[in-house]
């Protein structure tokens, strides 16, 4: 035989690989997001002009920057497929769960990369010291996974409409609020050198798991007519 069967996780890897390859060749999303991060961060830092801010405000600013970065970049996964016309090809041939998993992994990776870029700059510009690195990484990781999970599903919804950019933020924000508030509270504690309670860590991971499960259940309804 010239061909052999693949299971859907393999197809998901193929979709992730394709997205990475396209991204590597065009460097569109990462370039835009990097600049977006820099612009917002320098804007905040400049207006503060060296004034010290409380850890609650710092935590809030960090997550607001992350949220708007996600809004600026994550819709693209599906919207560019729709605009280039390749969504037809993908819907014709690709398995729904594989598409969701591939796109979700791509979005998680992208957001993690942006976070990795943002955090050092954020700490330097706003003159913040962190001692609980492990906890911070945990909160950032699970926080952004939740953002990516909700955004991947809403991005597909938005790609089917005729009002893309603004609508994406409008429909994603209320869904993300619980995660958002918890992540801010946990980050605030970390910045004041307090270890966040188990409840919060559990909540962040639980929210991610729930949203990913719900997205997986709902996506087939959206993908197949």
């Amino acid at each position: 035989m010239h061909t052999k069967k693949l299971t859907w996780p393999n197809s998901a890897w193929a979709i992730l690989y394709k997205d990475l390859l396209c991204e590597f060749r065009t460097r569109y999303a990462l370039g835009t997001l990097t600049m977006f991060t820099l612009v917002t961060l320098s804007g905040i830092s400049m207006t503060l002009a060296g004034a010290a801010i409380s850890s609650s405000i710092a935590a809030m600013l960090l997550w607001i920057i992350l949220f708007f970065c996600a809004m600026a970049g994550l819709a693209r996964t599906f919207v560019y497929e729709q605009e280039a016309g390749t969504l037809f090809t993908l819907r014709l041939y690709a398995n729904g769960q594989a598409v969701l998993a591939g796109k979700l992994l791509f979005n998680i990776l992208l957001l993690q990369l942006v976070t990795a870029l943002l955090i050092p700059l954020f700490l330097i510009f706003l003159n913040i010291e962190v001692h609980l690195w492990g906890q911070l990484v945990y909160v950032l990781f699970f926080g952004t996974v939740g953002v990516a999970a909700v955004a991947t599903l809403t991005a597909f919804m938005v790609s089917c409409t005729n009002a893309k950019g603004s609508l994406f933020t409008v429909i994603t924000f209320p869904l993300l609020l619980p995660q958002f508030l918890t992540a801010i509270a946990a980050t605030e504690q970390i910045l004041t050198d307090m270890i966040p309670s188990w409840n919060e860590c559990f909540f962040l991971a639980g929210y991610d798991a729930t949203v990913i499960a719900a997205a997986s259940l709902l996506f087939d309804y959206l993908w197949y007519d």
């Binding site: 909700v150 599903l153 809403t154 919804m157 089917c160 409409t161 005729n162 009002a163 609508l167 409008v170 429909i171 924000f173 209320p174 869904l175 609020l177 619980p178 995660q179 508030l181 918890t182 509270a185 409840n199 909540f203 929210y207 729930t210 949203v211 719900a214 997205a215 709902l218 309804y221 959206l222 007519d225």
Partner: protein, 227 residues
């Protein structure tokens, strides 16, 4: 429909009865005085807005399983009415907050929750209006409705933990004891029933109206009038 008309009349009479009870039978409460009367509008409105949210999601689920546009119509109508009641609950809540605590809005946990509910309703309308194809619209807004009901329990869990609340504890508190004057309690139950009946009547009315409109649209092109 005769049936609908009769139940309309019954609902209207019951509403008048409850309003009379609220203003003339319920005694003023110690500490709150006459202001307590607003509670009998606020609690039912809040109750309906949550119930409509759940109903809308249930119909959304049925739509996704059956693909019958009828269920989407129900889901959308429930969401529309839910939004209206949610707005009423928010406004009456803000008024109550002003006269008892001195400020219309202070991001009290329950205010935050109802505000997010309002945002979710608003977001689902924005999504609806952005899609033209009927089946596509039904499918996507159903999925959104279900996703938001999955997220809702997290809100209920998370918010009260981060803000201290001034909101009176729920009527049936954690010890499952009912701490209320019996007259007030019965009036409140009656108010909840009337609000539910009002929701039902409005729901039936709007469903009939959209169904007629959809049918009229579907039939007209056969006659040659396509536009």
């Amino acid at each position: 429909m005769l049936n609908h008309r009769i139940s309309n009349i019954i609902t209207a009479l019951a509403a008048v009865g409850v309003i009379y009870a609220v203003f003339f039978i319920v005694p003023p409460v110690e500490g709150l005085g006459e202001k307590v009367r607003i509670v009998f509008f606020h609690i039912p409105a809040a109750w309906i807005s949550v119930m409509a949210f759940v109903l809308s999601a249930l119909w959304a689920l049925r739509y996704l399983n059956t693909h019958q546009i009828e269920y989407d119509r129900k889901s959308a109508t429930a969401a529309g009415l839910g939004f209206f009641f949610c707005l009423l609950a928010t406004i009456s809540g803000a008024l109550f907050a002003k006269i008892t605590w001195g400020a219309y809005w202070n991001w009290d946990p329950r205010q935050t929750t109802i505000f997010i509910l309002l945002l979710l309703y608003g977001a689902s309308f924005a999504l609806r209006t952005a899609i033209h194809d009927i089946d596509q619209r039904a499918k996507i807004s159903s999925a959104y409705s279900l996703l938001s009901i999955v997220v809702m329990p997290f809100l209920v869990f998370v918010i009260p933990r981060y803000y201290s609340s001034l909101h009176p504890s729920p009527v049936i508190n954690s010890a499952a004891k009912i701490a209320m004057d019996p007259v007030m309690l019965y009036t409140l139950i009656a108010a909840l029933l009337v609000a539910s009946a009002l929701f039902r009547q409005l729901f039936i009315y709007y469903i009939e109206r959209t169904r007629r409109r959809d049918l009229a649209q579907k039939d007209s092109p056969e006659g040659g009038g396509r536009l």
